[in-house]
């Protein structure tokens, strides 16, 4: 039994699973799911995006943000305001939301460069609250507590995407796909390795020549941009936003997904989001006890899997690209003499 299971987890099967899941997701709406279920799927998608972004910062780089709702809010507001006042197209408005979220995260990261650990977390928490206060107080622009209403739905080539025509759902899938791909590309590069090295041992990372502050700022900007994109999508999906959506609770929910799913994993983000968004809905029958049980679930899940649901070390070998394997095979087991680096062109002397 265990053998079959571990067989199924072999890397050669991975592609197959991923393809199967993607296909299911694509054909799901055609099965006549209710709009209620669809909406929940969309919320799961949004939180998966948010978690994916926060994961870059917290899961991989080890910087715990307790104020990520701020970037979610900025993306939502910038995009919503541009779309309602200037009638900008959704995609352009979203781009603007992403850019502003990125810039604001850059400012935050640059001011808090010297902070580490809990001190950084609290600074981000403070930042989240400050942004919310700005949304509430800067009435001429944000409309204060009245929020922004009548946000246009996304439209694509003149075709309006709604819940009913599944357009919103597919847009969510596409966005989530793009964000996942981006994260995948970044993590599987020197940037990703630098992120993880910083999380593991920042000082040692510096001695590897990694400009740690630069990479931490980069992680901030990447994760804030993703949150901004998710915020923009949320605003155009829900069509009314006010400061109450972007509270500390929202930041905590994102963080919970990242940790519960498994920091520094991809699959954990989808599963974590699915669980934490679907549970409150599934627990409706409990009435007043709904969030008591929700809390209990959080406690129990951490108790039994403190490293996150899907946070295990892969027992698969490290994947060497074909090119590398060939180069190594060619080399065989020939004796290697290590020589110090002398500049690329210069011949090396003994």
């Amino acid at each position: 039994m265990k053998n079959i299971l571990s067989q199924m987890l072999l890397p050669q099967f991975h592609k197959f699973y991923i393809a199967a899941i993607i296909l299911t997701l694509i054909f799901l709406p055609l099965l006549g799911l209710s709009q209620y279920v669809l909406r929940i799927m969309i919320m799961i998608g949004i939180y998966a995006m948010l978690a994916m972004g926060l994961n870059m910062l917290t899961g991989y780089t080890g910087q715990v943000s307790l104020g990520h709702a701020a970037f979610y809010a900025i993306g939502a507001y910038v995009s919503a305001l541009l779309a309602t006042t200037l009638q900008l197209n959704f995609f352009i408005a979203m781009l603007a939301g992403v850019v502003v979220a990125a810039i604001s995260s850059l400012l935050l990261a640059l001011t808090t460069l010297r902070l580490t650990g809990t001190y950084l977390s609290i600074a981000t928490l403070g930042y989240g609250e400050i942004i919310r206060m700005i949304l509430l107080n800067w009435e001429p622009v944000t409309n204060g507590p009245l929020g922004v209403r009548n946000i246009p739905r996304p439209s694509f080539l003149g075709y309006e995407l709604t819940l009913a025509n599944n357009g919103i759902y597919y847009l969510m899938l596409v966005l989530l796909g793009i964000i996942s791909l981006l994260c995948y590309l970044i993590i599987n590069s020197k940037i990703g390795r630098a992120f993880i090295a910083i999380k593991e041992d920042e000082l040692a990372a510096q001695f590897m020549g990694i400009k740690t502050t630069g990479y931490k700022v980069l992680a901030f900007v990447i994760s804030a941009s993703i949150a901004g994109a998710a915020g923009s999508f949320y605003a155009h999906m829900i069509r009314y936003i006010d400061p109450n959506t972007f509270t500390f609770d929202t930041s905590i929910l994102m963080l919970s997904i990242v940790i519960l799913g498994g920091m520094g994993t991809f699959r954990g983000m989808y599963v974590g989001a699915a669980i934490l968004i679907a549970f409150p809905e599934a627990l409706r029958f409990l009435a007043a006890y709904r969030f008591v049980v929700y809390g209990l679930i959080l406690v129990l899940m951490m108790r039994f899997r403190p490293q996150g649901l899907l946070g295990w070390r892969s027992s698969n070998p490290y994947r060497l690209s074909k090119q590398v394997s060939e180069m190594l095979a060619q080399e065989g087991n020939r004796e290697i003499t290590l020589k110090p680096f002398e500049g690329k062109e210069e011949a090396v002397k003994g």
Partner: protein, 259 residues
């Protein structure tokens, strides 16, 4: 002009003079050792060389250029790399990934290359991976590349630290007690490995309390006590220096037994 020259550097912590006007130099391809009693200031010298601490006075020149009071990153990119007295690996990364992090500094592709998976990206990734595997093979960790760093035994972890330091394209390696925690057999292997590095052209500065290693490998030895240099010279000279014996080696020359 020496390859690496330390000119009368000092460092104090509060009232404690941890390093007091220490000077030494090393030529390309040499192995020198810094020895001395516990708390003499050896690790502090490494910390000043690599930018962990700023220096209170003095100068450090590498290849004719001053490198003191630079950030660790700048020091590494100039070609000086180190290991730590207390092992500092990226424990949740695999062995090969640890070494790949070491190649970071020599990976010159941009963010755009990453997103587009350009040829440049692929070339660097492939070359660096091959390089990493080669380093690991040569240090005897070729069959452990897939393991996670913290599942290695102590001795293997020390080797991995050295491999990671080499991967940064270092010309000078600063090794802080590399043989600590190794049994005589393993120290002997390490000794051989350090020799081959030297033969390959690396310059090495060693801090070590294991005299069987120090005396057998060093071209020259500097002895520090209470932050001050108290002796320098060839291994034999140092080993027979009464001051060194009194302050450090103790009554008998135990190292001789194992050579």
């Amino acid at each position: 002009m020496a390859f690496l020259e330390v000119k009368s550097i000092s460092k104090h912590f509060g009232g404690l003079m941890a390093v007091d006007q220490v000077s030494f130099k090393i030529e390309k391809g040499e192995i020198i050792s810094i020895i001395g009693p516990n708390g003499a200031g050896k690790t502090t010298i490494f910390n000043m060389l690599t930018g962990v601490y700023s220096i209170d006075a003095g100068e450090i020149d590498f290849e004719g250029k001053p490198i003191h009071n630079r950030s660790p990153q700048e020091v590494v990119s100039s070609g000086i790399s180190r290991t730590f007295q207390n092992i500092r690996l990226f424990s949740n990364m695999r062995v090969i990934e640890n070494v790949l992090v070491g190649t970071h500094i020599d990976t010159h592709y941009s963010f755009l290359d990453v997103l587009l998976r350009t040829k440049k990206y692929k070339k660097y990734e492939a070359e660096n991976t091959v390089k990493a595997v080669e380093i690991l093979r040569s240090i005897g960790l070729g069959d452990r590349i897939h393991d996670y760093a913290d599942s290695l035994s102590y001795g293997a972890q020390r080797k991995l630290e050295i491999a990671r330091a080499i991967a940064t394209n270092a010309k000078v390696l600063l090794l802080d007690e590399p043989a600590a925690g190794m049994n005589p057999q393993e120290s002997e292997e390490l000794l051989q490995f350090i020799r081959t590095l030297r033969d390959g052209g690396y310059t090495i500065i060693l801090i070590e309390h294991d005299m069987s290693v120090v005396m057998n490998i060093s071209d020259r030895i500097y002895v520090i006590d209470h932050g001050k240099k108290i002796a320098e010279g060839l291994p034999d000279e140092v080993a027979n220096n009464p001051r060194v014996i009194a302050a450090y080696l103790g009554g008998e020359k135990k190292y001789a037994e194992n050579s």
